[in-house]
Amino acid sequence: MNKLIRLYHQIGSPPSFYQISGYFLKPLLSLAIVLFVYGLIDGLFFAPEDYQQKDAYRIMFVHVPSAWMSMFIYALMGLAALITFVWRIKVAEAVMMASAPIGAAFTVITLITGMLWGKPMWGTYWDWDARMTSELILLFLYIGVMAMYSAFDDDPRKAARLTALVVIIGLVNLPVIHYSVYWWSSIHQGSSVKIIGTSGIKDWDMLRPLLVMALATKFYYGYSMLHRARSYLLKTEYKKQWVHLILGLHETKEKTNE
């Protein structure tokens, strides 16, 4: 128990977070690359074609994991925002702000791949369907979060607190995205992969690349987010001694000690 409490405090303190997260970067990136390469080759070349869509369905190996990530990242951002708002932990601020651009990128990929698939399959690139509209709102939320933060960037801590509030309010959109295809009649199909109940994809050769890609995107997010969070901490804590130690600015360190 004491070890757990110690770990908790270590992760919460910027210098030890910086140090501990450093060990994870390389393994996370390597795992992500290996799984991406395997998942894409498996999905694009070896998975069997669909009985109706033929090869066109293969875009789902990019679309579906990106869509999962766009929501997963927002949920994590929401958790970080709650910790930022209530406990004012700097590491949580860093995780929150580091996640936003990655989440926005995954949302853009989701929307673009969805449009490319929609044209041949549905017959239209875009329609104001509940699923598509709520996913577009998610993109605007990500952009809004980043804009909000940069509007107050002369005081990063205040900016993070205000941004956290926006992030938390935006959490309302997550269940709307998920249930949009069930609450309203919509052109977007329901979830093909379900944790509870029978999935719409029963063929293991089709499901495997999808799950591998889902893991790859998670690892990539882990790598990218930690990397960005570390830079965030260096930038916002640049006056602190530990940053000077890391950057090898020993001379300035002695001055700040006096």
Binding site: Q52, M121, W184, I201
Partner: protein, 145 residues
């Protein structure tokens, strides 16, 4: 937990609950507008806008598709297995359009009770499978009948 943190936690919980309730009320109030399409049953009840485009969704009824010999005009029935609506359309149908498949048609109801579509979208379901699996499923269905 210190009193300040407790206060902040209560504050943020109240805000979240408030926003969630507001969103729920908003979405319930505009449920009709968010609905992407109307079903043939709703249409049979006369529940559709006059002289304005709207969407109708359902399955293409089996053996109802008729193509014109000298133009791109097609007519077919959209069904929700309770009611049918006859649709006419002139243009290129999407790849996934076929009998027994879900579709959404955008257009207006004419006085003769035929829905004149300006655009037809195919709706895909959440089932993905290799052709062999689909064939096996089909064979099993035939056997049952």
């Amino acid at each position: 937990m210190t009193p300040t943190r407790k206060r902040r936690l209560i504050f943020i919980t109240l805000i979240t609950v408030g926003i969630a309730i507001a969103t729920a009320i908003f979405l319930t109030a505009f449920k009709e507008n968010i609905m992407f399409f109307k079903s043939p049953t709703e249409i049979s009840k006369g529940d559709f806008p006059q002289e304005r485009n709207f969407r109708i969704g359902g399955m293409v009824k089996d053996h109802s598709l008729q193509r014109s010999d000298d133009s791109l005009e097609v007519t077919f029935m959209i069904t929700d297995f309770a009611h049918d609506v006859k649709v006419s359309y002139e243009g290129i149908l999407p790849d996934l359009f076929r009998e027994g498949q879900g579709v959404v048609a955008i257009g207006q109801m004419t006085l003769s009770g035929i829905f004149k579509a300006e655009e037809v979208l195919a709706k895909h379901d959440e089932n993905y499978m290799p052709p062999e699996a689909a064939a096996a499923l089909e064979a099993a269905k035939e056997q049952k009948n």
